[in-house]
């Protein structure tokens, strides 16, 4: 029988890099509190070297993930939503504690996050039809365009919406065939840690999504300057530093998604605007023959 005198199991969460859960190379951790300031757990505070390792992992995972058929990618992502559904209660508790929401509002946010993931999973094999197609050209050519993933995308996840916002920025990157290095919300990282556990126990290959808990202000500059990162989503960047990150990203002509002035309403229909920035259009001119 377990009485109230049972010792609490205090958690120290780790990073999610290359399909494994390493501690931060720096050994740093920080305390995560709920909306009222009560201790929740310890989280690893990622350093620039963790970001570097995550980029190496994401680069290594890119050929296989981008080379998978769109149909297969959709199935793998749908499987993630299935596992999220199994963790529904845990997500609700973490979102409620971190964002200070009532349990019904937290449940609505988690439902919306899982639905959002399913929605993006469904897009994988439809993008080519919607964004690509045959082009009418003058000459004996069959000319067509297809969207192709950009590569390794760094994502600074929203600071406020810890699960729905995170899913809304991560899922489009993965659905389009890119691999991701995500810096989670600094003060509300626990739903992201649980999502990492979901990713690790679903069929997403290691390295495709890497989640770093820590400070976007500290890591953003290293990711923006990193020559092996092809795109960066600055949604969760601190407003004062966002322009600086954008300037640094220009040094290696990265695709950049600028941060909104204030965090948007994530429940709104996202449209295609978060998928198109990290797609390249490849156009092929195929001779018609005789």
């Amino acid at each position: 029988m377990i009485g109230n005198d049972r010792l609490a199991v205090r958690k120290t969460y780790k990073l999610y890099v290359n399909g494994a859960f390493p501690r931060s190379e720096s050994g740093r951790t920080y305390e995560v509190t709920d909306a009222k300031g009560h201790f929740l757990a310890n989280a690893a505070r990622a350093s620039r070297k963790d970001a570097r390792d995550a980029v190496v992992a994401a680069r290594a995972a890119f050929p296989k993930w981008s080379g998978a058929t769109a149909y297969n990618r959709g199935q793998v992502l749908y499987r993630v939503a299935e596992v999220m559904e199994g963790r529904h209660v845990q997500f609700c508790e973490e979102v409620a504690a971190g964002e200070g929401l009532s349990s019904s509002k937290a449940r609505a946010a988690v439902d919306a996050a899982i639905d959002r993931w399913v929605w993006y999973a469904g897009w994988t094999d439809k993008l080519a039809a919607v964004l690509g197609g045959a082009n009418p050209v003058a000459g004996p050519y069959f000319d067509f365009s297809t969207p192709e993933p950009t590569g390794v995308v760094a994502v600074l996840a929203p600071q406020q919406s810890s699960l729905l916002g995170l899913v809304s920025v991560l899922a489009p990157v993965l659905a389009t065939g890119n691999t991701a290095v995500v810096v989670t919300s600094k003060d509300r990282p626990l739903p992201a840690v649980t999502l990492a556990e979901v990713l690790a126990t679903s069929d997403v290959p290691g390295g495709v999504a890497n989640l770093l808990t820590g400070d976007a202000e500290e890591l953003g500059t290293w990711l923006a300057e990193h020559a092996d990162v092809d795109g960066i989503d600055l949604t969760g960047a601190p407003p004062k530093r966002a322009m600086e990150f954008e300037r640094e990203a220009a040094g290696t002509i990265k695709r950049v998604v600028r941060p909104p002035a204030t965090e948007p309403d994530w429940t709104a229909d996202p449209g295609l605007t978060r998928m198109t920035p990290f797609l390249e259009t490849k156009t092929v001119w195929h001779p018609m023959g005789v």
Binding site: R52, V55, R59, W222, E225, H226, A227, D228, V229, E248, G251
Partner: protein
């Protein structure tokens, strides 16, 4: 080191010492004498060797020391391509990379040598000319070494004739493991003779020698036979260059110089892919044999992918941000 003694002047007491005194002229006079000498070498404490090299992973080399280590390591690389699919074009592009490893930065040092199969040594020589970058060729039925001595010697002469000024030979591991040490020794002596002026690196293929004691014995055979360098591996067998093996071989070259006055170089090859691995080797050299060996004339890395990692780290130090594989050449 100077105390080279004339063995003929030794007293009977000195002859009875377990470790023979220099210049070891007598230890190779018969198979049994050679075996007695080699098995009389002090045993290697394997656990101690592993514990010693494990300490290296806990070091942190930063800023100016790191920059020095990277440049030093680049200047020590034997840029290697040993594939069945090698072409003259690939060797030429490798030679171009050897001369200018980082085309965006003229301050980047050259590598020490380009290492190819013997038939392509001529192509490498033509591309490198008198630049000072050496042409190394593997010979003696590399990598297995399974051919008759006549064929091996012909292989060596052919590579030298094609323009190689360094020969990487493999020892006969079959003979070594069967205990026919004198045969291994005589083969190295014959190859050294066939090399003429070319430097001889003797590959022990430590991954096939089973124990560290065997590594020490093979090192001594190679050094006694006149090898200018001892080299860990062909790169075709795993494990290749591990740090405990490097430690044992470095101690062997240190002891050999102390005993005979002749300095022998050391080349780990195979499996060294990252800057961190390279820096660990540099630290190990400095702490085992001292700075005399921290020179491309006495220490080399046999590697192909290591150079790109060194260049990426170098670019990181120079620019302050992380570089990527798109900024170095694909070999």
């Amino acid at each position: 080191m100077t105390h080279v003694l004339d063995p003929d002047a030794l007293s009977d007491d000195a002859r009875a010492l377990s470790v023979p005194l220099p210049p070891y002229r007598d230890v190779t006079r018969s198979d049994s004498a050679f075996r007695a000498f080699l098995h009389g070498l002090p045993g290697v404490d394997q656990v101690g060797a592993e514990a010693r090299v494990a300490q290296l992973g806990t070091r942190s080399i930063k800023t100016t020391s790191k920059a020095w280590a990277i440049d030093t390591a680049i200047s020590m690389v034997d840029l290697t391509t040993l594939e069945g699919a090698d072409t003259p074009g690939k060797v030429r592009s490798l030679a171009a990379k050897a001369l200018r490893p980082d085309p965006t930065d003229p301050t980047c040092p050259r590598v020490a040598a380009v290492c190819v199969y013997g038939d392509l040594a001529g192509v490498a020589r033509e591309a490198l000319g008198n630049s000072g970058v050496h042409v190394a060729a593997v010979a003696t039925a590399f990598p297995s070494g399974r051919a008759s001595r006549a064929v091996k010697l012909a292989d060596v002469r052919d590579a030298v004739q094609n323009g190689a000024d360094e020969i990487d030979m493999v020892i006969d591991r079959g003979a070594f493991l069967a205990g026919r040490y004198l045969e291994v020794y005589e083969e190295i002596v014959a190859v050294k003779e066939a090399c003429g002026d070319a430097h001889l690196k003797v590959i022990l293929e430590t991954g096939e020698l089973v124990t560290l004691d065997n590594v020490r014995r093979a090192s001594w055979i190679a050094m006694l036979a006149g090898g200018d360098f001892i080299k860990t591996s062909t790169g075709k067998v795993s494990p290749a260059a591990t740090l405990p093996v490097a430690l044992v071989m470095l101690e062997a070259v240190r002891d050999f110089r102390a005993a005979t006055g002749r300095q022998v170089g050391f080349k780990p090859a195979g499996g060294i892919r990252t800057t961190k691995d390279a820096v660990k080797h540099l630290v190990l050299i400095n702490e085992t044999v001292g700075p005399d060996w921290l020179d491309p004339d006495w220490f080399r890395f046999g590697a192909s992918s290591l150079l790109n990692d060194l260049l990426l780290q170098r670019q990181k130090l120079r620019t302050g941000h992380y570089s990527g594989p798109d900024y170095v050449s694909v070999d």
